[in-house]
Amino acid sequence: MPFKEFIEKLSKAKVQKGDIPVWHLYTLGIGGDVFYKGLKEGKIKGAYCEYCNSVILPPRMYCEDCFEKIDKFVDVKGPFIVVAYTELYRDLDDNRLDIPIKVALISVPYAKGGIIHFLNPYQEIENGDIVKPVFNKKRVGSLKDIKYFELKK
């Protein structure tokens, strides 16, 4: 037999509880700062790379294709298109959700990249639909300043 016997009952293994005692303060960075400040103002910002003549979403400090620095940022006004969506029926702790959460990859035809965000859970939204961001009235500079994207009528 190439295998040794395994402990089959977890309760038979002697264990000791532990964790790694740290937490983090993440730096938003140059690109992230532009993005979050824009969200606070109710705008979706992108970066503009003059080397490949592209708008990049969300904004970054450098273009990963040209590997050049970016210092020009623009307002991205859409059209925002649902590239792919999913419906989540369980939360992170594996509890069943009464109303599924809809999440989508949303892109803009002329921009590189895209945004991952929620869709209005009460709307029927399909791949290829044009959507728009719905911002909260009170905004703090957070990804969740956008409540969700919903159908653009």
Binding site: I20, V22, Y62, K69
Partner: protein, 390 residues
Amino acid sequence: MAQKVAILGAGLTKFMRRAKETGKELAFEAARMALEEANMDISEIDCVVMATAPDMFDGVHMKGDWLSDGAGAKRKPYMRSYVGGGSGVFAIIHGWYLVASGLFDTCLVVAEEKMSSCMPHPQGAFNAIYDQFLERPLGVNLLWIFSLEMMRYMHVHKISLETIALVSVKNKRNGLDHPCTQKGIAGEYTVKDILNSEVIAYPVYRLMVSPVTDAAAAIVITSEHEAKRRTDNPIWIEGVGWCLDTSYWTNRDLYYPKYVEYAARMAYDMAGIKDPRKEIHVVEPYDPFAYKELHHLEGLLLADKGEAPKLLEKGFWDRDTKDGIPSCPSGGLLGVGNPIAAAGLMKVIEIYLQLKGEAGKRQVKREVKRGLAQAWGDLMQVGTVVILSK
């Protein structure tokens, strides 16, 4: 037969306690500078190597992958080099064998560390490098092993605290001339100043410990034919070496870093060096703690066991020495800062600049044809060594 490998460019960001840039952005800044010096476009880079220490520091799991676009690695063969604190020098070794093997002609080597993300202090992450059952229940942090090791080193060779403090004095003074030095790290200190600082874990004093730092460093390396096509005076990688000792630190004699000696011997053999004390003209040993520089100089066979402190007192390791070997002319980790992986690559870059004669105010007085950089880390048991020459 391995193909010869050269360094064509280097980049280093400012060392900071907390940078406004993300780890990716820091990596980009350093990589961009290195490409500019090498006069190369990212499209001319065949492969990318990234060194960065524990994921826990940035708080991004699999951060090597996450950082890759900042290192210019999009759609390129990419690998992370990781041997803890030894990573910065290991990265150039890693890049070296990718090029020396003939697999690639050009490689961008990037090292990044964003230690400011880790709260309340990176020591929390260091706690988790120790054995869960044999050490962690005691609340161990990184200083334990250093203070015990320093104590053992001082005891065996009868070295005084005053002598060890001289390392801090030397490196903090050298660091004054480094354009990237972290604010408040370098300075003119006396032995008395060092020993008047807080005792953190006896015999380690506050001013004998390198700080927590955010920064990135990068170099461009190429094969011989690429190097000769692009520059008239490349700096060559003559030898590399690395070695790991047992992870049971109870099973090593702490007074002497055998693994550093083995790594050094591997590099000396490759470089054809018979007498390192004559053939190495400038050295950047890893100095996260003051005694470590002396400890490593002995491991590198640049001094007999227990002799490095005596040579220090005589000024043998000073930057302006005429007949000695300048050690840590950059200012080292004590004088410039310690962004783990980037600190190791900073040392490689210092040797590169010294050999090119472009170290500015830090340029050593004696003639230099060959230099060595060394880093150390993992569970305090890895030695990584690289030898560069004109």
